[in-house]
């Protein structure tokens, strides 16, 4: 084999691996990304029921209702609109009424989001950026934490 042939094989292999990677990335980007939505967007009804989404906002004051065996219902609000959420499981530390939260789940036909993941803040000074943006859009953002 000449140097040229060897180089061709190498370039061919590199091309094959890269196109495989590219194909995988493009397919996965089409199928598995989740859009971040604000409560206002969800409440306006523009999103198909059955679709997966991330929803960020504050846990509505007085909205937490606990059911049997770790079932819980609460609402997520951005000050403008409010979206009901149902969840079964333990809630993260710092999940409280009036605090920022990001949930991921499926929008059901009744307008409730069935959450499978609930993320709260890790730190009392820290607000998820998506939540801060959603609140800013509704004009209820009160600025950074005390820090």
């Amino acid at each position: 084999m000449t140097r040229k042939q060897r180089r061709l094989i190498l370039i061919g292999a590199a091309g094959a691996v890269l196109s495989l990677a590219l194909a995988l990335v493009l397919t996965a980007l089409r199928d598995s990304i989740v859009f971040f939505r604000t409560p206002t967007e969800v409440a306006s009804g523009g999103i198909d029921s059955g679709s997966r989404l991330r929803l960020g906002g504050l846990v509505g004051q007085g909205s937490i209702e606990r059911g049997e065996n770790l079932a819980i219902r609460f609402s997520v609000t951005d000050g403008g609109s409010t979206v009901p959420v149902s969840y079964v499981g333990l809630l993260p530390d710092l999940f409280r009424e009036g605090q920022g939260v990001v949930i991921e789940g499926v929008l059901e036909s009744g307008g409730t989001v069935r959450a499978d993941t609930v993320l709260a803040k890790h730190d009392e000074n820290y607000m998820p950026r998506e939540v801060a943006d959603a609140l800013k859009a509704q004009g209820v953002w009160k600025g950074e934490g005390e820090r």
Binding site: L20, D31, L90, D93, H122, R147
Partner: protein, 660 residues
Amino acid sequence: MIIEAGHYALVLALVLSIVQGVLPFWGARAHDRTLIETSGPIALGVLFFIAASFAALTWAYVASDFSVLNVVQNSHSAKPLIYKISGVWGNHEGSMLLWVLILALFAALVVIFGRRLPPVLRADVLAVQGWIAAAFLVFIIAASNPFARVSPPPIEGQDLNPLLQDIGLALHPPLLYLGYVGFSMSFAFAVAALIEGRIDAAWARWVRPWTLAAWISLTLGIALGSYWAYYELGWGGFWFWDPVENASLLPWLAGTALLHSALVVEKRDALKIWTVLLAILTFSLSLLGTFLVRSGVLTSVHAFAVDPQRGLFILIILAVFIGGSLSLFAARAGALKPGGLFSPISREGGLVLNNLLLSAVTVTVLVGTLYPLALEAVTGHKISVGPPFFNATVGPLFLPLLIALPFGPLLAWKRGDIGAAAQRLLALMIAAALLAMVLIALVDGASIPAMLALALGAYVAVGGFSELVERSRLGRVSPAESLRRLVGLPRSAWGGALGHAGVGLTLIGIVAATAGLEEHGATLTQGQSIEAGGYTVTLERIEQRNGSNYRDLAGVFSIRRGGVEKGEVEAAKRIYIARGMETTEVGLVTFGLGQLYVVTGERSGGTTLDVRLSWRPLVLLIWGGAFIMAAGGLLSLADRRLRLGAPRRAAARSVPVAAE
């Protein structure tokens, strides 16, 4: 006074590191021996001043000096001593100081171990290290000064984020930084090689151990961080494909590729240009990781402070170093002579395949990490690229890599025989196929892909030892003779085998703990129980307790299996008084390599408690495998032929031995 001295030492270190970046470099160009020789003392001086500065900050933490803003924000007088010390790097400013301290440490190691290096190469390497140190010192002094005072000083500090008050996390950043910054060594050598336009086996002989050392630290750092997330955050996940985790995975993937390609440069004098590029990219990814974590563009537990000025600053450093080194590469790579020829089917060919696939994985993870940021910047749409994306892309790319892994070490350098290698691995492949069938038949509700993945893990774990079996001629000579040969094999062969086996074990752990997860939640009253994995866990009592700086609401549980008592476990919700912050204290019990994972909720009516119980089979293999990979690396590092900075026999070995 000590604080001001620390601040002053930092400024001195900056001035001195600028000198380190200029004098030796100039000397190397002008062939001025005196200037070249200044590099050593200057680098040691930089280390001295940064260490003094770091010691001053540590003193402020230990003595709880609340006139220092950084201490106020991250410490508390009631905190245990170990977390006062780890608090030094549990925040943005202190962690950047640790970053440059480690950088200066590596430069000092070049001075100490590099006496036999060609003087010009050493001068260039130290100059590059000096540039990096200067850039980050400017950043610290201008945009993240840890020594800022506060007046009047408060009586008490705000405490360290309780999630970070943990022994695993006390060690996680230093190990991670040893890895990140350790790659600056290969970066500096790559840039020096490009400046000189020369690269040889002695160069690779130097770069490889340092890359290996950095890689070992990074492996341990990532594993520790993953275990911390697993037991501290209370979700039981060990990897979230969080952008910040990806930021540490990227240099690891590139560094793993670099480790393998440097082997080809060392043994066969080939792949030189690629290796130089990879060395530059690996450190660039480390810098990118630092940028992503420190700039606040990402939302995560690691984003200590959101400060656009800092982000911009690191972005400029990033642009200068990555852009500069890549421009240098473009201009000078042509000057590097390509080396030894090899057939596509050969040890080199196998290592090229390893590099191709690892690079593809690196690019994929990079795309998944940056795409949401780019999309938001361009269109304003916010998306989340989560585990489904990474599982769908990284998995298929790793598959050929894992299948090919046992083949690589069986192929000879230059020209290998894949048929012969397949023949030697035939028994192993048949055994793995049988294992898959047995697992599918025996495990209740087994998912076929998961069982195939388990068999693949076993194939890799055992196949990692293929080279040892081959070289000891096991089964072809008497067992005693084989044993003698095994003992006589170089440590690097054992190291490679362990490293590869570790990959298989980690895979088994990930698949078993994910596919075999059994999880149940319930609200329990005293005496009620919940089951998972055949274990019955009963709530015995609920206790309120006070710790040094926290209060616990704990559940005490008894564990039974088939009516037999298996011990007790406690899980708690912990409230840290200073910040009023709650954390989850997970109850963990290890049975074999699996773990029972008990989490309690915050709600308790005095007699009831929310409980989630899960059984995670073989979960310890995830970190055990990573630990074995690191141990393999250490063993390899201990090989006398690869001892740090021993280019002694490099000249004599310019003709490589094909049998390696």
